[in-house]
């Protein structure tokens, strides 16, 4: 037990990969065995992160459960892991969604082994970003996560998968080039990549001091934009968002769940973990521009979603809309750092990250459920399916309402907090973003209307025919139950998670 206690975070981080390696040696034909093994293996990090969650002392400043291992001594990089309220929330989201995504993948019959191995590697990649307290390690995991996702889309995706996977990979990689340079810049300057050291040393630099033929202030501004672009593409902030609808739409269902549920959060996490603490001045100067982009994402994301005729694309665009609120909250906090309004905005932004993870994963899964049965995503080809699949319909309406931000469910709390926090700081942008909130209603209701309501499309109702639409099954309901429970729980009593977030925000920013 002592070993486990002392290495909780590294176990959470590496167990998925170790399980992936073990999977290599299991017989390829044993699909059941492979699936259940992968599912079981992904539950271990979840249980461990629950342990961390309960042992975590939110009122204590700084990072907890820290572990440091020598990794690349020559350049001063070490495997430094640790969590605070911000990263722990994201770790919990990741370890929760991965088992659900694996459970959702039980319908995959093609090269199951490779699929599951990639999934487990992906989990390590995502967790590494949240757990890393070393800038180089952060970057390594940031890139590591791309590879399995690329292959998941490229090998198990739908018709246009080559285009989508390439766009996803190239775009994100292209964005991280600047990040890599900026990371190197910091590492060279201070001889360490350790975040805790960098926080203090980097901010202690005199802006007027000459460096690389420029002033430190100018270098910082350039490095700031390098960071921003990398994270903005990942979030994605308008106008860097067009990879998202393609990647999300073409990815296999579980891939979309994790893309929307976790991968987008990596970008927002980058803003919170790196940009706000490392570049408070630059962030404040450019907060207005960021807010403009966030508002554009909210409004144009909602409008573009409303314009879709493909169910999955509609849901994909909704992520642009929802993540816009995260960025709006961050922009407000950057502009008025340290004020109570900024605290509220950041609380909202971080909670929105978690909430969007739940509802977006749920929505993508539900799209997958109907796609598995109908083999179409065209909204015009559904119609009036509610009487055929009442349970599915109920769950779809529920999850849609969470996505819409219905009060009483989780999305409302976070969106309200962002709006409340941003209003006194970025009044006009907040007011304009209400237009996006209005169209959120429009696209959500469009989805429900086209799928469930209206006259029944008889094509799906043929008795004993092969088209007869089957009701959502127990396994699929089991995927949704944890998500739905959390959606209601956070909607009614958010204090358990908001308390952790709030304390982290108060201490960090």
């Amino acid at each position: 037990m002592n070993f486990i206690d002392a290495h909780l975070l590294s176990l959470i981080l590496f167990i998925p990969s170790i399980a992936g390696l073990i999977l290599l040696f299991l017989p390829s034909g044993e699909h059941r065995l492979i699936r259940w093994f992968a599912f079981g293996a992904s539950l271990i990090p979840f249980v461990l992160s629950l342990i961390v969650w309960f042992r975590f002392d939110a009122s204590q400043p700084g990072f907890q459960f820290e572990e440091v291992y020598v990794w690349y001594e020559a350049i001063g990089s070490s495997l430094h892991l640790g969590v605070d309220g911000l990263s722990l929330t994201m770790v919990l989201l990741t370890t929760l969604l991965t088992p659900l995504a694996i459970l959702a993948s039980f319908t995959i019959h093609d090269r199951v082994k490779a699929y599951m191995i990639l999934f487990l590697f992906l989990e390590t990649g995502m967790l590494g970003v949240f757990l890393a307290l070393d800038l180089l390690i952060f970057f390594v995991f940031w890139e590591v996560g791309l590879v399995p996702m690329y292959f998941l889309i490229n090998q198990w995706g739908s018709a246009n998968r080559n285009y989508a996977s390439l766009k996803f990979l190239i775009y994100t990689m292209g964005g991280s080039l600047g990040l890599l340079l900026a990371v190197q810049l910091l590492g060279v300057r201070f001889g360490t990549f350790d975040l805790l050291d960098l926080y203090t040393q980097w901010n202690a630099l005199d802006p007027a001091e000459p460096w690389l033929g420029m002033s430190v202030g100018t270098v910082k501004t350039i490095a700031f934009w390098a960071f921003v672009i990398a994270f903005a593409i990942k979030v994605p902030v308008w106008p860097f968002h067009t990879w998202l609808p393609d990647a999300h739409t073409e990815a296999p269902t579980a891939g979309s769940m994790l893309l929307a549920g976790v991968l987008l959060k990596l970008g927002a996490y980058g803003f919170l973990r790196l940009i706000l603490p490392l570049y408070p001045n630059e962030a404040q100067i450019f907060a207005g521009a960021l807010a403009l982009l966030a508002t554009s994402a909210i409004v144009f994301g909602a409008l573009a979603s409303y314009a879709q005729t493909d169910f999955k694309r509609l849901v994909a665009y909704s992520s642009v809309n929802h993540m816009g609120f995260v960025v709006l909250g961050i922009a407000a906090a950057a502009l008025a750092a340290g004020t109570p309004d900024a605290t509220i905005a950041l609380n909202g932004a971080i909670l929105q990250m978690f909430n969007h993870g739940l509802s977006a994963a749920g929505m993508f899964f539900l799209v997958g459920v109907i796609y598995d049965r109908t083999h179409t995503r065209d909204l015009e080809k559904y119609g009036g399916l509610f009487p055929l699949v009442p349970v599915y319909g109920g769950i779809l309406i529920f999850t849609s309402m969470a996505s819409l931000g219905l009060p009483g469910l989780n999305g409302f709390i976070s969106e309200f907090l962002v709006v409340r926090g941003s209003w006194p700081i970025l009044t006009i942008y907040t007011a304009i973003s209400m237009l996006g909130l209005l169209f959120t209603g429009a696209y959500i209701l469009k989805g429900i209307k086209k799928v469930l309501h209206g006259p029944l499309n008889e094509h799906w109702a043929v008795q004993r025919g092969e088209h007869r639409l089957a009701e959502i099954n127990t396994r699929e309901i089991l995927v949704m139950v944890p998500l739905m429970a959390l959606i209601v729980w956070i909607g009614i009593w958010p204090a358990w998670i908001l308390d952790v977030i709030n304390k982290a925000v108060v201490m960090l920013f």
């Binding site: 067009t242 409008l303 109570p340 509220i344 009036g384 509610f386 409340r420 237009l435 169209f439 209603g441």
Partner: protein, 726 residues
């Protein structure tokens, strides 16, 4: 149990009913309605206990029942945490009273309305209204045209989604109780939106009908326009005061601060702009012009839904929100003027449309919009108590009228099933007539409700509340509002009498109306109960100075509800002009309505079928052309196709060809000529040629090599020698 604990518990039973029905009881119709009605009964009981206890408290306004907990941890200290709680002050108490009664009655009514106990129809589908079931009863003699050894006849069939209906109205009741009992704007908004969802789900209850489906979306979207403004108002208020709790905001210092801070928007004070933003929410929810368009379409829902959500409770919640925030909103004269204008305009605007409608429920829908306009106008001129009074009486008599209309429709459907002519619209008043003899209970209760709506003098509740609004408008010199509302009141009486005459009086105009039948007790009992309130509730608010009656009954309502405000509103001096106006418009309207329509046999004889009114001033068409269609066009063509796929992806797609060209350029103009040809092939060629040329030296003879070595040695030695010497 303490009153505070009870207040927390009141909203819960309907919510639990919702959960239980959805998860466990949805296969049993009887169990579902038992759970739902028991839950409504429990909440009703709790509400009545709280109401009675509230009556016993001296100065309840200053010492309300309240209790709150920390809900959202925000900021560094517990003081900055966001709290939520429950509050019962006089306003809550009276609203709770009417909500509990109407909700319970409508729950009960729904049992009969959805034909509980009737057989299932063979052709009924989920998502469509039931079509009726054919029953075979051998050997029984009946006086029907059907004959034969087996007696076949069609009876109403039970609603296929019976359980779902009770689940939804349970959730709805939860939302309404949350809204009423909230001590702060945020949970009020939570209840507000939960009701909005239920309204959407219930308007679209028969979702397979395209009209119902579209009406549901329209209702949700139209109210959402108001809601996003309201959300901004809430955020604004919270930012400026640090709290959303009513009791914390309505303290003189805070109010004074809000009144004096300019908002920087068109000369509004902060209080004025917050009030205006919140009021836009009300405009959506209470279907005021220009966001009124959803309410008439909402009549697509089952009639109990129209009665509960779209007459008695949810649309009243919009007015309730303004009443609640009155101390804040009334600080800015500019905002108050806007409110008064919107209310008065809506009152008369909707009344004119109601005159030309033929669907029995649509008349009531426009009437609801118009009456809500009365309340809003009353608030806009500062007539706080009058608005609350009308809110309550209206809830009772309008719920009664809607339930009555549902009963009429049910009776007519019975006739339709009897004749088998499904082309007859059971909601069209021109297909009715003479129903007073077929459906006496429905007739008498509808008459009471209709007279209350018209403001029939002295005995109906509607008279007292409407009269109080007019008296207030008159005595405070708001002559425009006074005249507008008086005209609207006249039209109200007119269209109400038109409705009563066309529906119940005269002779049946169709065979279906001839075969209409009175509805079961579950439907008529709520009618009777509500008609008691439609008459009796007026007596609690008879003004003190009213001739003769004023002294007999104490003006309890004014004292009690007025106590909610820190400054008790003064009772209006009695004046004969508004009273006479009330009498004239009510009686005159009723009389004219009767005279005009008593001999109308068919649609052609109705002189008020004016296209402009029938088509609701073409507002729907206008919105569709100017907002709805362009919005979708913009979303699809500009945002998605032009911006995302055209410009942004266009730029991205340039990278591919550009990189490709750049790559080919490097290959064709550098790699191939320079590296490959020049350095690669070139060096090979040079080496090769050099080798070729030097071949003759490679003779393999040692002597030659040594000779060469000697020559080179001497040559290098000579060069070095000369270099060193120089």
């Amino acid at each position: 149990m303490t009153t505070e604990a009870l207040m927390w518990l009141i909203p819960l039973p309907p919510f639990l009913a919702f959960v239980l029905i959805v998860l466990f009881a949805n296969r049993s119709k009887a169990l579902s309605h038992t759970i739902a009605i028991s839950a409504a009964l429990l909440s009703w009981l709790g509400s009545m206990i709280v109401f009675v206890r509230a009556l016993g408290v001296e100065h309840l306004g200053e010492n309300p029942f309240e209790s709150s907990v920390n809900w959202l941890p925000l900021g560094e200290s517990v003081e900055t945490y966001f709290q939520v709680g429950v509050l019962v002050d006089p306003l809550t108490a009276v609203v709770l009273f009417f909500v509990a009664w109407t909700v319970l009655m409508i729950f009960l009514y729904s049992v009969g309305y959805h034909n509980f106990g009737q057989p299932e129809g063979h052709h009924d589908h989920k998502g469509l209204p039931p079509h009726g079931a054919t029953v075979e009863e051998p050997g029984r003699q009946r006086n029907t045209p059907h004959s034969g050894s087996v007696d076949k006849h069609v009876v109403p069939s039970v609603e296929p989604m019976y359980s779902r209906f009770f689940a939804f109205i349970g959730l709805f009741a939860f939302g309404m109780y949350v809204l009423v009992l909230s001590d702060n704007l945020l949970t009020l908004f939570v209840g507000w939106e939960i009701m909005g969802l239920c309204s959407y789900l219930l308007i679209g209850f028969w979702y397979a009908k395209p009209s119902a489906r579209d009406a549901a979306v329209k209702a949700f979207m139209t109210t959402r326009i108001g809601d996003v403004f309201m959300l901004l108002g809430i955020a604004y208020l919270y930012s400026s005061t640090g709290t959303l709790s009513f009791r914390a905001i309505f303290v003189p210092d805070t109010l004074h601060a809000l009144q004096t801070i300019p908002s920087g928007f068109l000369g509004f004070s902060a209080a004025g702009l917050i009030g205006l933003l919140l009021f836009v929410g009300t405009v959506g929810k209470s279907a005021q012009f220009p966001l009124h368009v959803w309410l008439p379409d909402a009549m697509e829902g089952p009639t109990p839904v129209s009665a509960m959500i779209h007459a008695a409770t949810m649309v009243s919640a919009g007015v309730y929100a303004v009443v609640r925030m009155f101390p804040l909103i009334s600080l800015d004269a500019q905002t108050m003027t806007i409110i008064a204008f919107i209310g008065a305009f809506t009152a008369i605007f909707a009344a004119t449309i109601a005159v030309a409608q033929n669907d029995i429920k649509r008349v009531l829908a426009y009437s609801t919009i118009s009456q809500l306009g009365f309340m809003i106008a009353a608030l806009g001129i500062g007539a706080y108590v009058a608005a609350v009074f009308h809110l309550i009486t209206h809830a009772f008599f309008k719920a009664l009228l809607f339930l009555g209309s549902g009963s009429v429709i049910h009776g007519m459907e019975h006739g339709v099933l009897h004749t088998g002519n499904h082309h007859v619209d059971p909601q069209d008043m021109f297909n009715m007539g003479g129903l007073r003899r077929k459906m006496p209970i429905t007739f008498w209760t509808f008459l009471i409700g209709g007279f209350a709506l018209s403001g029939f003098p002295l005995i109906t509740a509607g008279f007292w509340s409407k009269d109080e609004i007019l008296a207030d408008a008159f005595s405070h010199g708001h002559s425009t509002v006074f005249i507008t509302l008086a005209v609207a009141a006249f039209m109200t009486a007119f269209y109400t009498m038109r409705q009563i005459t066309l529906t119940f009086l005269g002779e049946p105009r169709t065979p279906e109306a001839e075969h209409a039948r009175e509805t079961p007790w579950t439907m008529t009992l709520p009618l009777i109960v509500l008609s008691v309130f439609a008459v009796g509730y007026g007596w609690v608010g008879i003004p003190e100075h009213f001739p003769l009656l004023g002294g007999l009954v104490p003006s309890w309502l004014h004292e009690f509800v007025g106590g909610t405000l820190s400054e008790h509103p003064e009772a209006v001096e009695f004046n004969i002009i508004p009273l006479l106006t009330s009498l004239v418009v009510a009686l005159g309207g009723l009389y004219l309505g009767w005279v005009t329509y008593r001999n109308v046999r068919s649609l052609a004889q109705d002189r008020f079928q004016i296209p402009l009114l029938k088509n609701k001033y073409y507002v729907d068409e206008f919105y569709d052309r100017v907002f709805v269609k362009p919005a979708y066009w913009f979303a699809e063509n500009v945002v998605y196709k032009f911006m995302d796929q055209g410009v942004i992806d266009g730029i991205l797609h340039l990278f591919g060809p550009f990189t490709d060209r750049f790559g080919s350029f490097i290959r064709n103009y550098f790699d191939l000529p320079v590296i490959n040809r020049f350095f690669g092939d070139g060096s090979a060629e040079v080496t090769y040629t050099a080798g070729e040329k030097l071949r003759f030296l490679q003779t393999g003879r040692i002597q030659q090599y040594l000779m060469l070595a000697l020559v080179l040695f001497l040559a290098i030695g000579a060069v070095l020698y000369f270099l060193m010497m120089a």
